[in-house]
């Protein structure tokens, strides 16, 4: 690098670039948040969905599963599990854990009430209806 490229110039590029792109990011964020209601169908977020998300969080489901592809990769994707399996299967599955099959991955028994199971299903149902640009590639997640 030649002599005329001073530290002050490098510093200015840093400050200018950081501010410039952060502003751009804020602008895009504004646009995103404006447009989200059409994609997330928030009018369908019922109390049951809210409670379901709370159960999802307090059982740390994301510590094994992914949801919309984010989380751990130890257990199946659940963003579309409602479409893959349906509500009744989900409830029966959660109730039936752990399978106890030797050497197989095990899911804990959370002792959820019927109401809580319904809430989880409602949350997963709402999640499965989010417009995710057609992700995942197929029903297997």
């Amino acid at each position: 690098m030649s002599e005329t490229f001073t530290k002050a110039m490098a510093r200015n590029i840093f400050y200018g670039g950081a501010v410039f792109f952060f502003l751009l990011f804020l602008g895009l964020t504004f646009d995103t948040v404006q447009g989200l209601p059409k994609r997330d169908h928030r009018e369908n977020i019922t109390d049951a969905v809210v409670r379901g998300k709370h159960i999802w969080e307090t059982r740390d489901c994301v510590g094994c599963h992914t949801i919309l592809g984010e989380g751990a990769y130890f257990a199946p994707e659940l963003g579309n599990v409602y479409k893959r399996r349906g509500g009744d299967f989900i409830k029966a599955w959660i109730k039936g854990q752990p399978t106890g099959a030797p050497g197989r991955r095990q899911m804990p028994q959370f002792n959820l009430t019927d109401q809580q199971l319904d809430d989880v299903v409602e949350f997963l149902k709402w999640t499965s209806e989010i417009n995710t640009n057609n992700w995942p590639p197929n029903i297997q997640g």
Partner: protein, 177 residues
């Protein structure tokens, strides 16, 4: 010079977007052609002339400082900034018309590119004006001379790049069908 590194990075970023545009266009020719007809080519063309003129003023500014004419240099820069301002105003009218039609980034792929590229460029014009402003103030207070005018050339180089990007962007997005 630092600015060349910077300009290179800028051209790279815009370049990738231009290529992406061409790629997306090839897959949606009908949509792009249809949407392009709603753009205001007149205001785009006027803006092209405005920016080229503004760039010319910066050429004069550099020529002036090479003859040690600080005040004249500052005046040419002021003129360049002024024309940058005209560009922004015309562009704002254009954006206003588009937003009034309810067009957003999510309207379709063409408008996504149109808005992204032009807003991104718009912000570069503003940044360029800020840089020119700093250079102008320093020139006015006699901070540059015939021997030492790297700052003026740096500002001019950046401004020419902003101009150049528009000269590519305008035909690419507005004209070529």
């Amino acid at each position: 010079m630092a600015i060349w590194f910077f300009i290179f990075a800028e051209l790279l970023a815009f370049g990738i977007f231009f290529v992406a545009y061409a790629f997306a266009r090839a897959h949606n020719v009908v949509l792009f052609n249809e949407s392009q007809q709603h753009l205001n080519i007149t205001s785009g063309a006027i803006n092209t002339l405005v920016l080229i003129t503004s760039s010319y003023f910066m050429v004069r500014a550099v020529a002036a400082i090479k003859q040690n004419l600080s005040r004249e240099c500052a005046r040419w820069i002021a003129a360049a900034i002024g024309f940058g301002g005209i560009f922004l105003v015309i562009k704002l009218f254009e954006f206003h018309a588009k937003f009034a039609d309810g067009i957003t980034l999510s309207t379709n792929t063409f408008y996504m590119f149109y808005l992204s590229l032009t807003i991104f460029h718009f912000m570069h014009v503003i940044l360029g004006m800020v840089i020119l402003m700093a250079v102008m103030l320093k020139a006015r207070s006699g901070g540059y001379s015939a021997e030492n005018h790297t700052g003026v050339e740096t500002g001019a180089s950046y401004w020419h790049m902003v101009d150049l990007l528009w000269i590519i962007l305008f035909p690419l997005v507005y004209v070529i069908h």
